[in-house]
């Protein structure tokens, strides 16, 4: 263990211990009488106000991986990496009206997952299963990637071996098991305080040391002037890809089960609307974080080994005194724990509600459901650690790339379904299959080119698909997920028209129009999930449901 920075390590360990205690104490915070109910464990009792929701969703959407990977992308690719900013600007006005409808219908009908909604809305267990599986497959590598963030800071501190990583995740697993969604909600306070502190200090201190913003952008310009395509501005051929990547990523983010878990935990519609105005504060922070990539160029940072994700930790180490670098590292490390906890809870909810209860044990009691969800959240995290330790981390990065493309394929059922029931359940399945096939085929055919133009990787080399491959005579490329979604939508609409013309039965809608605008104080509002026995709203027959 030579070359370990003791000051940094001590600060990181102390802060980590603080959040560990908080994680366990969280089960007593805003306490309910029994945590042994899926709603209490998995949705925190669904009573989070504006502030807690802001911290929870912020901690959930802006992950440690984002904080490490976005500057790494800007460091390597220049302007193209800045897509994270328009992405996180357009997302809130985009979902402003959508999340409140999802919140309302979920609370009237007791939906915990997006698949619950699809099942009731379209009367289709098959489509619900597809949504659940898509969600789980897309979330798993995302959890694994949080470990990449922790790994980067460990490397920078000179800590070797994988034991610290395993210990961190075991502790995380234990307090998530113990406290459910309350744990990440409480820890998110610490995480965000540290992150904001780090960014504010970084934005003031680092440019001063490097000779101002002019020098920083100047150094970046100089680095890229020799290169291929990358630069401080986008090449003309990169503009369409930039916009579609931003839009496609924005459409995908709130389809991820962990985002929906955070949304449903809000206490009412106004809390969500206010958060759509307050969450962009994180986007502003993300913009500054992205520019850390250019600061690293100006500071002449070289990544540790081949790992580009280490540039931010190394930059902090060079620019800050050890004690403050320790705080910044703790911010990244704790920043990994919050989303990892929420993601594993969301994946566990999907498995419990839409696979276990639907196909394995129809008569599961709420206690059994909660127990299965807790155990699943453990399994999910063990799987994530195993994926990082035993499989090349690159595999998780590739999978996460695929995850964004495949989660988009649930958009017609989950998002459009909130507005219309015209889409036929058979068509939704057909559209999902077509979109998946198109997306995976495109990703498979994307090569990664090295700086000298040679092919570094033959397949799954990125998400930007050259339109020339479709025989179009243009130089531009498009985000593969966006194109796959278009295929999905076209197929869904055409097949719907055909099935409707053929009068194929489309099942019974398990929701009513008024559900989508229901408010907290309405008699239909409830906090008990049970779509499998969805009784008519407002009849108050909980005895039968339980």
């Amino acid at each position: 263990m030579d070359g370990v920075n003791v000051v940094e390590l001590t600060i990181v360990i102390v802060l980590f211990l603080v959040v560990t205690v908080m994680g366990f104490v969280a089960s007593r915070w805003r306490r309910a009488e029994s945590l042994m109910h899926l709603d209490e464990w998995g949705l925190g009792g669904r009573s989070f106000g504006t502030w807690i929701t802001w911290f929870l969703l912020g901690g959930d959407l802006y992950t440690a991986y984002t904080f490490v990977a976005v500057p790494a992308l800007v460091f390597g690719a220049g302007a193209a990496g800045f897509f994270a900013v328009p992405y996180t600007v357009v997302i809130y006005p985009l979902v402003f009206l959508v999340v409140i409808r999802l919140w309302s219908v979920s609370h009237v009908r007791g939906f915990v997952t997006p698949a619950d909604f699809v099942r009731a809305r379209f009367d289709s267990p098959v489509m619900a299963l597809l949504v659940a599986l898509t969600g789980i497959v897309a979330t798993m590598p995302y959890i694994a990637l949080q470990l990449v963030g922790i790994e980067a800071i460990l490397k920078a501190m000179g800590v070797e071996g994988e034991l610290p990583l395993v210990v961190a995740f075991v502790i995380l697993a234990l307090y998530t098991y113990n406290s459910g969604l309350r744990a990440p909600a409480l820890i998110a306070f610490v995480k965000d305080t540290l992150i904001y502190l780090t960014i504010i200090v970084a934005v003031i201190v680092i440019p001063t040391k490097l000779g101002g913003w002019d020098a920083i952008f100047g150094a970046a310009e100089e680095k890229f002037s020799a290169g291929t395509g990358a630069g401080v501005l986008l090449p003309a051929t990169g503009q369409l890809g930039y916009a579609t990547l931003a839009l496609g990523s924005a459409l995908a983010l709130f389809l991820y089960p962990h985002s929906i878990t955070g949304v449903l935990a809000a206490s009412n519609r106004d809390v969500l609307k206010r958060n759509m105005s307050a969450l962009p504060v994180y986007s502003l922070a993300l913009g500054f974080i992205a520019l850390l990539g250019f600061m690293a160029i100006a500071a002449g940072v070289t990544p540790i080994g081949e790992d580009g994700n280490t540039i931010v930790p190394v930059l902090f180490q060079e620019m800050f005194p050890s004690w403050f670098a320790g705080i910044a590292f703790a911010a990244i490390g704790i920043g990994a724990l919050v989303p990892a906890a929420i993601m594993s809870i969301a994946a566990a909810n999907l498995f419990t509600r839409n696979i276990y209860k639907e196909f394995l044990k129809r008569d599961a009691t709420p206690r059994q459901e909660a127990q299965v969800a807790k155990v699943t959240s453990l399994v999910v995290k063990v799987g994530a650690v195993a994926a990082i330790l035993f499989i090349d981390p690159q595999f998780s990065i590739d999978l996460q790339l695929i995850g964004g493309v495949i989660i988009l394929q649930t958009l017609p059922a989950v998002a459009l379904g909130l507005y219309t029931r015209w889409l036929h359940r058979g068509a939704l399945i057909a559209g999902w299959v077509a979109g998946m096939a198109a997306g995976l085929l495109m990703l498979y055919n994307i090569q990664r080119l090295g700086p000298d133009g040679s092919v570094v990787r033959e397949h799954f080399g990125g998400s930007s698909f050259a339109l020339a491959k479709l025989g179009l005579d243009v130089q531009s490329s498009v985000y593969a997920g966006f194109l796959a979604l278009l295929v999905n939508l076209v197929v869904t609409v055409l097949v719907t028209a055909a099935l409707r013309a053929a009068k194929v039965p489309d099942g019974v809608d398990g929701t009513a129009e008024a559900d989508y605008t229901a408010e907290r104080e309405d008699p239909t509002f409830r906090d008990l999930p049970d779509p499998l026995e969805s009784a008519p709203p407002g009849t108050g027959d909980a005895g039968a449901r339980r």
Partner: protein, 107 residues
Amino acid sequence: MASSSRSPADGPARGGTPVRSDRSPWNWLLLVPIVVPLIVPLYNHLEPSLFGWPLFYWLQLAFVPLGVLTTVLVYRATRRSPEERAAARAAVERDAARPTVTRDQER
């Protein structure tokens, strides 16, 4: 599968839920911060720069307040009446005062 088909398909929900609408002309305003940040030619330039920042970077960061402004505006303009909001707050407090288990049994 059979169970969900038991519930009524359409019509107003029972139990006196008022039929509301999220529709409002104000909502169209939300299109501005969705469309503008996606028009890349608008900001893919170095000049005019601001505090040493090329246009590309400072203008895109400036879209953040644009998004905040429009969502705040739409939220304020489409908010429910003070009486309704007071009722909503009362409902939240009432629910918070009771543990889930009791709520469960009451139903």
